[in-house]
Structures are given as C-alpha cells and as structure tokens.
C-alpha cells in the first residue's frame, strides 16, 4: 500500500508547471516610480550577473527598462514583457519615488509593495529630490557594480550607526502613513553634480545641460574618473503628513529628529563658544522621554544625551571638572534651541507630527486621545512644547588640553 503511494507521488510530481530557470531570472535591484499625466512611469534596474560574476566584465552590470501604465501593476507587466528576463522582485532593495507621486500619496505604492508576496519588508523607500526617479536609477557610481544596491548598503550600514539618516523598514512606513499622529520621514536621494569645467556661460539652456550631465552620469565615463562627475547622495529628508509629501528636512535637522525619536545612534553636536571657537562632541547615548497632556495641549520633552568630546578649540583647561560642565551647559542650550526650532518648523512650515506625539498620546493617554483624534491636524500647531535637555560629556578623549 505504501509503495503504491510513493509511486503515485513520483508520477504526480513529473511536473506540469512553468519553471523559471536561473538563467532567465532578472533580479530587480531597484524600482523607480514617476508620475506622468495619466498613470505611472515605472523604471526597473535589472542586474546582469555575467558582468559581475566575471564572465563578461565589459558589459555593464545593470540595465534599465521602463514602461508606462495607468496603474502600477500594469506598468510592471509591461516592463516584464519588455525585458528578456523574467523579472524577479525578491531581491528588490530600493524603491525610488518622485516628488509628484509622493505629494499625491504613498498609499498606492505601499499597497503594491505589500500585496506582492515577493517583495521583502527590509527595502528602503526613497524620494527623489528634484529629480526624476528614472534619472536617479540611471546613475552609475564607481563603488559598487549595482548602484542602487550601493545605495541600499549605504543606507543600511550607515543608518545603523550614524544619526544622519532615517531608518525604517517597509512595515514601519505602512504603519505611519495611515494613522493620525504618526507621521514619517523618508530618506530622499539626489544626484550630486560637479559643474562641468568647460561650461562657463550661465545662460545655457538648463534642460540641455541637465541632459548632457545625465548622459555622462549614466555611462561608464562616470566610473572611469577618479572624481566622478555625478554621484548619488542622501542629503535631504522628505517629511510626510499622513501619506503625502509636505516638506523637507536637511541633514542637521534629521539628527535632531532622530534624537527626539530616541534612536540609538551616533550624533555630532557642535557649538560655537563666544562666537569664535568651535567645540564638537559625539553623542552615543540618547534617552528621550515624551510626556503628553493633550487635554491641556502641553507636551513635555526630557532629553538626556551622553557622549564624548571630540574636538575642542576653546582655550579652557579641561582638567578641571567644572570647566567640562560649562561646556555641557553650552551644548545643552544649543541643542535645546535647535530642537525648539525644529519643532517650530514642523508646526508652522511643514505641518506634520513627525515626532509621533499623537502616537504617544494614543499609547499612554488613550481616552484623551480619542477626543482629539479627529482634528489632530489643527491641534498640533497649537501645542505647547517644553524641552529640557541635559548633555553629559562622559569623557574628553585621550588628551586633556592641547593648548597651554
């Protein structure tokens, strides 16, 4: 009896399905989504393994396919048809969105990403700052055969250490976009272009200039120079309200954002003492506590930052303990000022509750939150923030004083 079953098993299994062999697999490393008139322009950056594996090192390691469609999935099917490989999204690292799409809302993209079982949750979503995402995907940079994966490695390695980037995964983003009181900040990628040396007249047509630069950026000429003309970088950070893009932070503000989010990373704080002397420290421990009292429209933030002194130009004798405390006070003041400025910015310019005050209220003061939930957007700018910062310098480094 059992033998018969095993035989049936083997017979059944003499498969009847299409199987995608490894050779026909097109690994998509990055997806770019641009909004065009009636739909989306989808660009996929597909990996060419031969160039990387060494069989054919003259070929480019990636190639790009794009197509338009009214919905995202339609566009995806079109590029799947165009490419000679069967596109495989399981190793997708990065999705780049352009500003128009982000302003309209992230939800369609997140829906696409979540429903697709192949897309994994640890991808990064980037906004293309003043570029089209197609351009961002088409830049070849010298450090990694796959530029978009370099972006991903950069983001994942760096984000785990420095506080200069936002760190999140797909699920965090999803959680944030749909709940009031939980807004998010995404990294925004941009292209850093060197001005071309032989272009000194300033009234050149901008678009041609742009196109020329793109041509150079997306060819191997870019890689073969010691100082490449174009490079990818993340210097701006997109702020979202619900799922719509409302503004940007720059890279000093993102550090403050991460500090307020209680993220355990390295931060660089710097002060200018007596308008002349720079002192900087590296903070490696942050302990931020937010207390909300939504009924009274008050928020209290207590921030404790601990770090080591990294650079000192102020001629002060640091071997005396109270001198170090003076420095600490300077740092605390500066940080408090910066934090308040940032909070002000989010309340007035960029109206988004990126510090998740609403989320805190939801977790800790549920009944009060329930009352204000409906019009949180109007209440948030009127909130009264009180920030207390306490900077502690644990160590001043290897030497005490350089100056006499």
């Amino acid at each position: 009896m059992k033998r018969i079953l095993l035989v049936i098993c083997v017979v059944l299994l003499s498969g009847c399905r299409e199987q995608v062999g490894l050779k026909e697999l097109g690994l998509v490393a990055g997806l770019g989504i641009d909004k065009i008139e009636d739909g989306y322009l989808l660009t996929a950056q597909v990996v060419n393994p031969n160039a990387i594996g060494g069989n054919d090192s003259n070929a480019l390691p990636i190639y790009s396919v794009s197509a338009e469609g009214e919905t995202l999935y339609e566009a995806f099917q079109k590029i799947d048809n165009q490419s000679i490989h069967a596109l495989y999204l399981a190793h997708l690292h990065v999705i780049v969105i352009d500003e128009t799409t982000a302003e309209e809302g992230l939800n369609p993209i997140l829906d696409f990403a979540l429903r697709h079982t192949e897309i994994r949750p640890d991808i990064n979503i980037l906004v293309a700052y003043e570029e089209t995402s197609q351009d961002i995907l088409n830049v070849l940079i010298p450090n990694d055969p796959i530029p978009v994966s370099q972006l991903d490695i950069y983001v994942s390695m760096v984000k785990s250490h420095t506080g200069r980037l936002g760190s999140y995964n797909l699920y965090d983003t999803v959680k944030s976009v749909n709940k009031t009181g939980l807004d998010t900040v995404l990294n925004a990628a941009s292209i850093d272009r060197e001005p071309r040396p032989d272009n000194d007249s300033e009234d050149e047509d901008d678009s041609e200039d742009q196109q020329d630069k793109m041509d150079v950026a997306s060819s191997t000429d870019n890689i073969s120079k010691i100082l490449p003309e174009s490079n990818l970088e993340i210097k701006h950070f997109a702020v979202f309200n619900d799922d719509k893009l409302v503004g940007y932070l720059d890279d000093t503000e993102i550090q403050l954002y991460n500090i307020l989010q209680n993220k355990d990373k390295y931060y660089i704080l710097k002060i200018k003492v007596e308008d002349d002397y720079y002192v900087s420290m590296e903070a490696n421990r942050v302990n931020t506590k937010i207390h909300t009292q939504v009924a009274d429209r008050k928020v209290l933030i207590n921030c404790e930052v601990t770090g080591i002194l990294t650079e000192n130009r102020y001629p002060m004798d640091l071997s005396a303990g109270h001198n170090v405390e003076i420095l600490e006070e300077y740092f605390s003041e500066q940080l408090k000022k910066d934090l308040l400025a940032l909070i002000e910015k989010t309340q007035t310019e960029v109206k988004a509750d990126i510090f998740r005050i609403g989320g805190h209220a939801y977790n800790w003061e549920n009944e009060n939150w329930f009352n204000v939930k409906g019009h949180w957007d109007e209440i948030y700018p009127t909130l009264d923030f009180e920030v207390n910062v306490d900077v502690v310098i644990e160590s001043i480094g290897d030497i005490e004083n350089l100056y006499e």
């Binding site: 079953l5 299994l13 399905r17 640890d122 699920y171 959680k175 749909n178 977790n363 800790w364």
Partner: protein, 368 residues
C-alpha cells in the same frame, strides 16, 4: 502495529503541536488588534475548563473512545447518528485545514504551482503517515517538537538582538473595546481550544496503569501550547504593529521576514514555513486518524486502509467545488451555533449522563 499505544510524553507533545498547528495558520482573534495575546490567554483558561470536562467525561467512561462513549450514553441508535455527525464534523475540519495549508504553501512558497498538486502531495503525506498507525505518529511528534523549538530559537534571538521588538505596539491594552474582545474570546475558545475534543479519541491508547496522570499532563500541555502561541503572537504584534497583523493573511510569515541574523544566515523565512507546515501537518494527521477510527467504528467491515484512502480521495476531488469564505474560513465557516453545540453542548450532555450512571453504579456497589 497490532497494539496501538501512546505514552504520556507523546500525548503531551501531540496536544502542544495540535494547538500550535491551528493558530499558526489561522489568524485567530484578529478583530482585537493589540489584544490578541490577552484574548488567547483568557480563552486558554476557559479551554482548560473544557479540557477538564472532556477528561472527566472520558474518565467516567473508562477512557474508551468517543464512538463507544456515544453508544454507551445515548444508546445504539441515537449514538450512531451522533457518531455520523461527529464524523462529518471531523471531515469538514480536515477539508478546511488541508485546503488552507495548501493555499498557504501556494502563496508563500510555491508561487505559481497549481493548488491541486500541492494538495495532492499533502494528502499523500498524511495518508502515508497514518498508515503507520498512532504509534509512529506519536514518536515522530516527539522528534518534531524538538525541531519546532529549534526553529523558534533563532527567531527570538534575532528579534532581540536586532532591536526589532517595539513595545509600543503592544499598548494600550483594551483600547479596542470589550465587546470585540468578548466576541473574539468566544471564537478563540471554540477554534483552537474547543477542538481538543479530538483527544478523547486518543486517551484510550494510553496504557491503563498511567491513566491517572492524563489530566495533569494534558493541562501541562495546554499551558505550554498556550505559552508558545502567546509568544508567537506577541512577537508578531511587536514586529508588525496591530494594523498589519489584522490585515496580513499569515502574519507569522511576514514577521519572520523581518528577522535576520546578519553574518550568519541572512534570511530566516524557511523556519516559519517549517513550523507552520509541521504543526499543521500534525493537526491534519490527527484529524485523519480520529476521523478514520470514528468512521471505522460505524461498521466492523470497514478496513482502516480503505477508509483512509477514500477520505483522502474524497477531499482531493471535492476540494475545487466547495465554496467557503476564503478570508476567515478556519474559524467561521460553520455557524458558531453549530460549533458550540458540537464542542460544548453534546459533551456537557454526555457528561451529565455519565455522572448519573457513575453515581448509580457506585450506589449499587455500596449497597452490595
């Protein structure tokens, strides 16, 4: 095997695997977003009460199997009808479980395969293993329990070492409202914990001299099983957040995708699949075995082998034609009233009858 026997350890492990099997696939308690784990805890306490009831029922009838209990308490005619009801109940559960396992495998692992082939292979495995009898099933359960624990450990290590655990996702408790929680408690009580009625069939295989330890062991098994389920659900919630847990079809699989041991093993997906398939398989094989014995008891001429084959073939061929609610089928296909009746109503009735009989018998022996 001519003698069918399980020992106490195997019974414990089977109960644990049985409990994990159902909940890992079906998203129980999903209406009560953050409070899934509270729901499971409370319904496990209620389930403990149910287990004691079942055990008492079995004990009063000298640990005979369910069909014998029916016949003894309700008489041959009515008893046979009740046996048929229970047999069809088991068959329906087998069908739902097999199709849901096949669908899960198709969605997550074998994207693009035909569902028939997946279902067929699953049924072949179950039939093959049931042909070896409950002895082999029990022993393999002991081994696979170890495998499942081994698969869970990297998950926990990875979550805590990568800092993925977000406590904020678990609070506030009871924000959803007690009505929904009460509903969910009732549903969870019926779905994983109410199905313990199947173990009434297995108590008869424990050697007589160890029968008095069954209650204690089953309660320990219930406790451990609940612990594991609650741990998994808490992990799901903490990693994904309550919205996603409510909306994902298989949240455990998605939560596992976030877990990684960088530098050692990059992706831990297969572990989730292994856990779900193995625990689901054990539930399925126990159902098969119990269902087959129930059907076999209707008529002495039915041979075990053939009943097994007919049930499997039946499920395979009928599968495409039965409509069921694909989003929540494991829990809600049968109206709750019927399930309450089968899992709660009839056993309580039988228990009362058995208590009365027992009382009368002890009175008789006292008089004599």
């Amino acid at each position: 095997m001519s003698t069918r026997r399980i020992n106490l350890n195997q019974l414990t492990v089977l109960i644990i695997l049985y409990l994990i099997g159902g909940t890992a696939i079906a998203n129980v308690g999903k209406h009560s977003s953050q409070d899934i784990w509270v729901v499971i805890l409370i319904s496990s306490i209620l389930g403990g009460g149910l287990l004691i009831l079942y055990h008492r029922l079995s004990q009063l009838n000298e640990y005979k199997g369910l069909p014998e209990i029916f016949r003894a308490c309700l008489g041959k005619g009515l008893g046979t009808w009740v046996i048929i009801i229970y047999a069809s109940f088991f068959l329906l559960r087998i069908f739902l479980l097999a199709t849901s396992l096949a669908e899960m495998a198709q969605l997550t692992l074998m994207y693009g395969e035909s569902q028939k082939v997946i279902l067929a292979v699953l049924l072949i495995t179950v039939v093959y293993c049931s042909l070896y009898g409950i002895n082999a099933i029990g022993r393999s359960a002991e081994i696979f329990f170890g495998v499942i624990i081994l698969c869970l450990i990297p998950f926990f290590i990875s979550v805590f070492s990568n800092g993925l655990f977000k406590y904020d996702n678990l609070i506030p408790i009871f924000a959803v409202g007690t009505i929904k929680i009460r509903q969910d408690i009732f549903r969870t009580f019926l779905f994983p914990f109410g199905e313990l009625i199947l173990f009434l069939m297995l108590f008869q295989f424990i050697p007589k001299k160890e029968s008095h330890k069954i209650l204690k062991r089953s309660c320990i098994a219930l406790f451990i099983g609940t612990l594991i389920i609650v741990l998994i659900e808490v992990m799901n919630l903490a990693l994904l957040g309550s919205d996603l847990v409510t909306n994902f079809k298989y949240p455990f699989y998605n939560a596992m995708q976030l877990a990684t041991l960088r530098g050692l093993i990059d992706r831990l997906d297969p572990l989730a699949i292994i856990i779900i398939i193995i625990s689901g398989y054990f539930k399925l094989v126990l159902y098969f075995y119990a269902g087959t014995i129930t059907i076999q008891s209707l008529n002495k001429k039915f041979k075990y082998k053939w009943v097994l084959l007919i049930v499997a073939l039946g499920i395979f061929f009928v599968a495409p034609y039965i409509e069921y609610d694909k989003t929540n089928f494991l829990v809600s296909t049968l109206p709750y009233k019927i399930m309450t009746f089968i899992e709660l109503g009839i056993p309580i009735l039988l228990w009362l009858i058995s208590e009365v009989k027992n009382y009368q018998q002890t009175k008789k022996t006292q008089v004599i």
